[in-house]
Symmetry: D2
């Protein structure tokens, strides 16, 4: 799903976008999407990464690590309303020795301005010992392939 007019192929593979309608059950008494819905939508974009790069995620398992969410930040700009078709765009914005950060934008599918944006910070645990550890070099190299400049 290439949502960047004129974008080149390399950049495009680094940005995931998923599009779906705001569900009625996600809307609150003000008729707008409840703020917790954005957190779920962010995650759907991350899981779309997993669906598209199954080999990469298999490698995570081979290395014996998993990378749970350790921090979440959301900035709300304008409400998503019931009936809106929204697009979540997500990319890797930072990879360091001990953490990787996904950036997320929520847009109305027909608009260019974000309704909300935010980051999810992921850290690295050993599957067996459940101890925090550095991201293994091969996993880090893999994550770095998806790095994208913010705002693109």
């Amino acid at each position: 799903m290439n949502d960047k007019a004129g974008g080149d192929a390399v950049e495009t593979t680094n940005i995931i976008s998923v599009t779906f309608p705001v569900r009625y059950s996600e809307c609150d008494p003000l008729g707008i999407a409840h703020h917790s819905s954005y957190v779920i939508w962010f995650e759907e974009a991350r899981h779309e990464y997993m669906r598209r790069h199954p080999a990469d995620y298999a490698q995570l398992a081979e290395e014996g690590v998993f990378m749970p969410l350790s921090e979440l930040r959301v900035r709300y700009r304008a409400p998503a309303r019931f009936g809106d078709i929204i697009t979540v765009r997500s990319w890797m914005s930072e990879v360091k020795s001990r953490r990787a950060i996904f950036y997320h934008q929520v847009l109305r599918a027909d608009a260019r301005e974000a309704l909300a944006e935010g980051e999810s910070v992921h850290i690295c645990f050993d599957v067996k010992t459940l101890e925090l550890k550095k991201i293994p070099p091969r996993v880090r190299a893999l994550l770095e392939r998806y790095l994208q400049e913010p705002g693109k």
Copy 2:
């Protein structure tokens, strides 16, 4: 939590009741609890059974069975609103060779009439083979101890 003034001890142990406020995130654009919330509340009453009768549920595990939900029915009478404190009352209404039925009522904590009511039907599977089977006699005897006349 004895919610039956004058109720006798035997009956009281057979009715579970849980009480909590309607969450804002559970309310829809009409300002009333979304119909899916009742399904979650029913389950909270069933899990309260598990919390109160841990030995009985351990026996389920010993017998090598689990009893998932196979059918759900809800009848909506009047809306629960944000700010309402609601009580869910639940009891076992039927135990047969192959299924057990929990009955559930949702009431405003200060009222006697149900906002909604419904049943969850549970069937029996072998944990290892994942095959449908009859409820083992010891489990059935155990479930029958919690049988309660409807409407009580």
Copy 3:
């Protein structure tokens, strides 16, 4: 979205189908979609009707009525798992003087057998008086256009 190979045009317009992945946040500790998720998915199929037939729903408003859910029934056959792409198919299965019933099926998008099926029963209220009433003749005629034989 015509999901019926060889289906004729008339039937197809009467069946709504929506397709989406099972969300991670919808899955429970067993790794399968929580039973309340199906209730939300059913509603998404009904709202897809509204999105496709805006004129019809405008007429509902003109007649001064709304048709909330009064009853819900779900029969669970097999679990939907995280990663499954599911399709919800929905059609009007009954229209009577005082109620209309939507039928819903949840299928894995690549399969023919339903994971779950169920009905939502809708009754008719006057928007102003909030009193229960018969479905107005023009609304009933409109709903009857979407009637579909069960199992199709």
Copy 4:
């Protein structure tokens, strides 16, 4: 609900705490509370403020303003599991001319260390014009009464 043994009265009124079990439907395939659940729990603590200080919130309405969430931050420390009884503690950590910040902690009810913590930032809108504005002096004075030192 005084959760601070030996706490003095003034401090106690500034900290709201709500306690409830982790719901089964809130848990994900890892058997732990999904990260979006914490966002909902934070909000429940804020709404408990509203339930306890109805007069203050009435004044917000009188001033013709509302204070929606503009930013959310959550730091996850350790998982909440199904069956855990958790307590959310919340207080006002900052009041400035244009924003107020609620601080939230999620703890197991029987423990002293936080499973998660975070902030919700609230800004001020005119109910009629829907324009961003400074927090009116009377509202600001009211919010400042609930200020609490972080970590208390």
